[in-house]
Symmetry: C2
Subunit: 146 residues, 2 copies
């Protein structure tokens, strides 16, 4: 059994990869820039999403392969961007307490996801055209560098 | 005399920075991911745009503060993504010839810009809401790290 990809772009990409060996795909990644305040991109958003899911900074960071310290520094950076913290530590209890998204944190996460979805929809036709302009096969590993 | 910022988001950001000292801004940066083929982001697109403008890889790279070698490697990476080169070298002439965007290169650039504009429009309301959720003032330099 396969897990269903989360959104239309992921489904299309999955379909493109399977079966006929066509690896061509074109998807959008967005970042919201706040100038001197910093930015929100896929990494910070995934971390927030995992904190919502797990109720723990440590567990969320672990799932992304980062140390507790690295996860906490990212959260600290996120919290300073906005007028109130997006992630709140909860004190006490066995294991030293967890963490949760504040109301503002949940709103910011929701708006970021709404932007992602609105953009994927708005860009759909141009993305499809770019996909069909790709080479028949991807070149060697060198071109995959990010 | 001030140069007019290129788009609505830039104008809004510029307005936000001037006058009343409100530094709050929220703009979108997009990247198109092609999986194993690589990606197109703001840097490669700016380089293509400058080659269209200057007709020279060297001049385009220089304006972005990169060496000819670095600019050429990026172009080589871009060219291998698609079914035909986006940037073509023109041989001969004084100075060793220039470079131009192919028809496909111009189409890809146009579609990327169209995606940027469509996304900025689709995200406008959520971006405005995120902007008003920012802190009154940006925190210290530490939070500005990218």
């Amino acid at each position: 059994m396969r897990l269903a990809p989360r959104n239309r772009a992921a489904r299309a990409a999955s379909k493109a990869r399977s079966g006929n060996g066509d690896a061509r795909q074109a998807t959008l990644t967005i970042r919201v820039d706040f100038g001197p305040y910093g930015y929100l991109g896929p990494g910070k958003i995934q971390l927030m999403s995992l904190i919502l899911e797990h109720g723990s900074i440590r567990s969320a960071g672990k799932e992304m392969g980062m140390s507790y310290r690295r996860a906490w520094l990212l959260i600290d950076e996120i919290n300073k961007i906005f007028r109130a913290p997006l992630v709140e530590k909860q004190m006490g209890g066995a294991g030293g307490g967890g963490a949760r998204l504040s109301d503002l944190g949940q709103e910011v996460l929701r708006r970021y996801r709404a932007i992602e979805q609105a953009c994927a929809k708005a860009a759909m036709d141009d993305l499809a055209a770019l996909r069909t302009s790709l080479a028949i096969q991807p070149a060697g590993p060198k071109t995959r560098s990010r």
